[in-house]
């Protein structure tokens, strides 16, 4: 008798897809080295890695712990392969769950979040592919100085709309982490380049505040 639940099967399929993705991702540099007979000196790779790995490996661990509960099972297996989580997949999943009035971690939340992330991944892949095909025609438009401010401000444009929905519904929990982050970025503007590391700090503050307010019966 088959006793595996839908969620068990999602984990199984997810693991098969993600491990295959890992192999494919690793095969890209291997194929390049073999085809062009261009294995790089190990020291140059290590030196290059030293410049990025300490921060990006840390951010990677943080992202897994922070985003997996938001993205759900299939959403995590898919979202972490297709990337662009903070600027696209996570807001897309959150917005879709909000519209459908379902909660993350429920069966319905899992369905909605997966549909949002999968759709977003397909559309992103198609848009980038069209862009690559039409690169000659698109480059002057996309690089035009008139449009530059639009893309420079994509994160505030995204988090303004998303933030107001969540903050207005949960303003008691939001004030402390928001004030903390604003003051922190005012004092140390250079932290903007490593905002990923600050996500769990914000989460810890809001969880702490939520716990205190909950215990006092204020939520």
């Amino acid at each position: 008798m088959n006793t595996k639940t839908y969620d068990d099967m999602t984990h199984l399929y997810g693991k098969i897809w993600i491990w295959t993705a890992i192999v494919i991702i690793l095969l890209v540099p291997v194929a390049i080295c073999l085809y062009y007979n261009a294995w790089p000196p190990v020291q140059s790779v290590v030196k290059g890695l030293l410049g990025v790995a300490p921060i990006f490996w840390t951010v990677g661990v943080i992202e897994v712990i922070t985003f997996c509960p938001m993205l759900g099972t299939a959403g995590s297996y898919l979202g972490f392969v297709t990337g662009n989580l903070t600027n696209l997949k996570v807001p897309c999943a959150l917005n879709a769950m909000e519209i459908n009035n379902v909660k993350s971690g429920t069966e319905e939340g899992e369905v909605v979040s997966t549909i949002a992330i999968a759709t977003s991944s397909i559309v992103t892949t198609i848009i980038i592919s069209i862009g690559v095909l039409l690169i000659g025609q698109l480059t002057p438009i996309l690089n035009s100085p008139e449009l530059k401010p639009a893309f420079d401000n994509i994160l505030p444009a995204l988090f303004g709309g998303l933030g107001v929905v969540y903050i207005s519904k949960n303003w008691k929990i939001s004030i402390a982490p928001l004030l903390f982050m604003i003051v922190l970025f005012l004092l140390v503007p250079s932290l903007a380049s490593s905002v990923g590391i600050l996500v769990p700090v914000g989460a810890a503050i809001s969880i702490g505040v939520a716990r205190i307010l909950y215990k006092k019966g204020l939520l």
Binding site: T10, H11, Y13, I18, W19, I24, I25, V28, I32, Y36, A38, P40, S44, V45, K47, G48, G51, W57, G60, V61, V64, I65, C68, P69, L78, T82, G83, N84, A96, G105, T114, I117, T119, V123, T125, I127, I128, S129, T139, F151, D152, I154, P156, A157, F159, G160, G161, L162, G163, V164, V165, I173, F180, M181, I182, F185, L186, A192, V201, S206
Partner: protein, 240 residues
């Protein structure tokens, strides 16, 4: 062999990776859609979720395409196409390429001609981002078990816990918007854009709740985001 980062071999690699990504996405999309049907969910709403997610994705995807263009100036087109379609983001790929290029004393002001420098950059881009993908199959079940334990003990606190995590992320990104205000009025532009986006979202909320324009709910976020981006285009020349 003369090395050209734009040659057909690289395009073949890119197409293979892209097809894999689309196959994986389609697999989970169809599976989730069928599951929604089984659970008796409102299928009309799920179809709307597909269209609203697609529309929401357009602007960020074009911004990712800009990242491909930036990297293509020295890496050719196929490699950035691959990298920004799987796990990568421009905020990571550019420092990875720069770090490796400086380790090799190679200039990134023109298209790379040295295949070893190219392969070194590809390795650094690949290995530097691996933990986030490798840890998912290892940790996901454990993370979910932890959350289930919290929810079983107290379901209201479980929901608050996840909401608080969302708010932590949103706070970090909203706080980041304030990082440039000490540079003068130009540094305030992201804040004006943020507030305008919030205002548009508020207007959408009023249209939904007061005037009962229900379709707006599905498109409120893309409307706010695109509207705020257009606002940035209008105000930047007036301020800078």
């Amino acid at each position: 062999m003369n090395f050209n980062p734009n040659d057909s071999f690289m395009y073949i690699l890119a197409v293979m990776v892209i097809l894999f990504i689309i196959a994986q996405s389609l697999f989970f999309l169809i599976r989730a859609y069928r599951r929604g049907k089984e659970l008796g969910m409102d299928m009309k709403k799920l179809r709307k979720t597909i269209s609203s997610s697609a529309i929401f994705t357009v602007a960020p995807a074009v911004s990712i395409l800009l990242g491909v263009l930036t990297l293509s100036k020295f890496l050719g087109l196929p490699l950035p196409w691959i990298r920004l379609s799987v796990i990568g983001a421009i905020t990571y790929e550019l420092p990875a390429a720069t770090s490796t290029a400086s380790a090799l004393s190679v200039s990134l002001s023109e298209t790379l001609k040295d295949p070893k420098a190219f392969s070194a950059i590809t390795w650094v881009m690949t290995l530097g981002i691996m933990p986030s993908i490798v840890l998912v199959p290892i940790l996901l079940r454990r993370i979910q078990k932890g959350l289930t334990t919290i929810k079983t003990k107290d379901s209201k606190w479980g929901d608050l816990f996840i909401t608080a995590m969302f708010l932590g992320m949103i706070s970090a990104f909203m706080g980041m918007v304030f990082s440039n205000i000490r540079s003068g009025l130009a540094g305030w532009i992201p804040i004006f854009v943020l507030l305008f986006s919030a205002l548009l979202m508020g207007i959408c909320g009023i249209l939904l709740k007061v005037f009962k324009i229900n379709w707006i709910q599905d498109y409120a976020l893309p409307i706010s985001m695109l509207g705020a981006m257009a606002f940035a285009v209008l105000i930047t020349p007036l301020i800078v």
